[in-house]
């Protein structure tokens, strides 16, 4: 696999959307290519940062209680 092919598949690799065979090909390339591995680690880290930054918002308790009352 060439670096360009790896870059094309990196989003899907980070999102666990590749088939097992494709994921293995990417993994083997990453293990032998420090530049692509750095890119991968950065993408993975960015995804984690976005998740942790955005998922701390939760529905206020009063709103949850109100909805439960309306719906049940």
């Amino acid at each position: 696999m060439k670096c360009e092919q790896c870059a094309d598949k990196l989003d899907r690799y980070v999102d666990r959307e590749l088939t097992n065979t494709e994921a293995l090909e990417v993994q083997l390339h990453l293990e032998g290519c420090p530049d692509c591995m750095d890119h991968y680690e950065f993408q993975e880290h960015l995804k984690r940062v976005v998740k942790h930054s955005c998922d701390c918002d939760t529905a206020p308790k009063a709103f949850r209680d109100k909805l439960r009352e309306i719906l049940t």
Partner: protein, 192 residues
């Protein structure tokens, strides 16, 4: 109309996804009151149409689809105005930081406050923002995100890719403004 016990069970199961819906509504509307209105309306609609929900399928995706469709119905004028994102190039933040001698994760990403990351997400055009919310924040598969949004998987992938590029661009700009990185850093050769 469902039996009261069945309706209560359906509502209780639906309420287990409240945080996901509320977060999504908050990021779409940017306003806690509007988010609560939107979510409440979505739940009422879900209850009304619970017969169309197939038991055993992804209830979170089904509820999110109802909520985001309501959002677009309310703001349907803005759908056409959704800004498309230019291709800003791959790995914008990563490449710039490498050029400037920084370690992208340790030196920069970990120093950017969560609130700034949320601001960068909020600045994305809504059609791109909702893909990031579904895939990156809520962990939807591309297939579930595509079904929720009513678009092909390829569209999910392209919106996600561009959204991530734009996020990197926004975070880089913030990192420069706030002094976390200095353009023309240590490894850049000064121009004479």
């Amino acid at each position: 109309m469902a039996e009261p016990a069945a309706q209560t069970a359906f509502a209780e199961e639906a309420l287990t996804h409240l945080d996901t819906l509320y977060r999504g509504a908050l990021r779409l509307t940017h306003d806690p009151d509007q988010a609560q209105d939107l979510v409440q309306e979505a739940y009422l609609r879900a209850l009304r149409y619970q017969h169309s929900y197939q038991t055993g399928t992804n209830m979170k995706a089904w509820l999110f689809a109802i909520m985001r469709n309501l959002f677009w119905d309310r703001f349907k004028g803005s759908r056409k105005e959704d800004v498309s994102l230019d291709d800003v190039g791959d790995f914008v933040l990563y490449d710039k930081l490498k050029d400037e001698g920084a370690k992208p994760e340790a030196d920069v990403l970990d120093k950017i406050a969560a609130s700034e990351v949320v601001t960068a997400v909020d600045k994305l055009p809504p059609l791109h923002r909702e893909v990031v919310l579904l895939v990156d924040v809520e962990g939807f598969s591309y297939k579930d995100a595509a079904e929720t949004l009513g678009v092909p998987i390829g569209t999910v992938m392209s919106r996600l890719h561009r959204a991530r590029q734009q996020l990197q661009k926004s975070l880089y700009e913030y990192a420069v403004e706030s002094g976390i990185v200095h353009p023309g850093g240590p490894t850049q050769v000064s121009q004479t």
